[in-house]
């Protein structure tokens, strides 16, 4: 599968990674190579095969509705790049929530 620059930009948008034009071109080529390799999975006839998302078969793992320890406000904010009024501060948000 050969990726176009436009496809690379689209994926970069989905992944929230800013790319320069140079990087876009470079990635288009590299990703195309990697995908061409990975596409070999398509050579396997696997129509009826059930996909595996968990390699070890477990089910019904849950916890009781009982309280556990929480972080104090200082701890929760300790690594924050920007804090205001006990909250994480971010620049203005453009998009509405999904």
């Amino acid at each position: 599968m050969s990726l176009s620059d436009e496809q690379v930009r689209h994926v970069a948008r989905l992944a929230r990674i800013a790319l320069t034009d140079e990087e876009v071109a470079g990635l288009a080529s590299q990703l195309s190579d990697i995908l061409a390799y990975a596409e070999q999975v398509g050579e396997v006839a696997a129509g009826d095969v059930v996909p595996t998302s968990h390699p070890y078969p477990l089910a019904n793992v849950a916890r009781a509705d009982a309280p556990g320890p929480s972080l104090g406000q200082d701890e929760a904010l300790a690594n924050a790049p920007a804090v205001e009024d006990g909250r994480f501060r971010v620049p203005r948000i453009v998009g509405e929530e999904a």
């Binding site: 994926v11 989905l14 929230r16 990697i34 396997v44 696997a46 477990l58 701890e75 300790a78 998009g95």
Partner: protein, 496 residues
Amino acid sequence: MPDDLTRADAATLLAAMEAGETTAVAVAEAHLARIRATDGALGAFLRTLDDTALAHAADVDRRRAAGETVGALAGVPVALKDILCTRGVATTCGSRMLEDYHPPYDATVVERLAAADAVVLGKTNMDEFAMGSSTENSAFGVTRNPFDLDRVPGGSSGGSAAAVGGRHAPLGIGTDTGGSIRQPAAFCGIVGVKPTYGLVSRFGLVAFGSSLDQVGPMARSVADAAALYEAIAGHDPRDATSIPEDPPPARPALDRGVEGLRIGVVSSFLDGEGVEPGVRARCAEAVERLAALGADVVEVALPHADKALPAYYLIAPSEASSNLSRFDGVRYGLRVDGPTTEEMMAATRAEGFGPEVKRRIMIGTYALSAGYFDAYYLQAQKVRTLVQEDFAAAYASCDALVSPATPSTAFGIGEKVDDPLAMYLNDVFAVPSNLAGTPAMSLPVGGDEAGLPVGLQVMAPHLGEPVMFQVAAALEASLGLDLAPDALDDAAEERA
């Protein structure tokens, strides 16, 4: 008991400490001194924790002297891959994104090491976010191979492998998602184990490929690896993928020998096209040795094994693309400011992630995206099922499987770093076990013509740790290899 404490393995050190022949503080100091003297050349550690290590060692000595209970690894130094959260201590994952990140909590494995009274000497270098096979993808410099400082130690757990191989610590902790313990273990001439998926808690392990990641032991002997495995394995209610049952013990299996065991050789691996002659030769000799020891050796096929690596390079990046979304400059880690949150996030991620991480995030995002999900991600998970079935069929007639751990010995620094696909091929024999979630380990079986270590991979079914360690221990005993503990000194001398 050698004069140089760094030449002793963990079992020897434990015995000596228990016998009063040495102290945990002396052991810690010896290793820290060696790190100071040689890690400049090797680059295994991102940071050492001298003060806390010595304080812990002193406490172990005090408790031992007072006859109090001490943990199973009391006083034994450990090198910890910088992907495991250590409370209040920088945990970078080899990335600029987390350069100043100090987790507010300890990983379960870290808690278990503390409970075992192992002495953590420091956090080791790694490929960024565990993505790589050479530790050249670290944002903080390369780590070198103790056997040849111009060669890579392998990756992504290259720092821990080099630390153990270079005698900076008798024990190391690594993680293995697509061979990242076994391949560096093979390259650095040490033992490295990827346990059954779910036996070792992932709570506090910064996630790369969640359905593939496992934490595992690295050591200079099979017995040491077994002891470390037992110390860290076990159910953890904070990890929903953690196996509820008690982990199968490894140490009782160590001296059972291989008489009567059915061992399958994955011939497509052993005789594979890209396998170096030296690797093939040492591995074939090891197989013959197993037969001579009484094992029933047969050839097995894993028909879908050649599709395992392609499948892995869809599944792992897909999971990674989601796992790494949290790194956005909001709650922790690097922030590159921008006029809007969207721009801030995109700029932060552009600067915080290295090229390999970006490639994998992009591949994964693409493989999960609308219109491509079925052909890529879903198809890869179907191939995964087929690989599991291949293993199940093989294990129906074999107790364990063997193959080379890697197609080659350690390659030169810089040699493959610009060719992602060539780099990926390092893990072609390792990845099937990650897909299947089955245990696998690498142990040294000799050197190639240049004296570079060759590793043999031993694989077993789910919860088959006992038979896996059993085979490895028997082979190790029979080989009687001197794991060239002077490798780093020689290499450093050659350089000087």
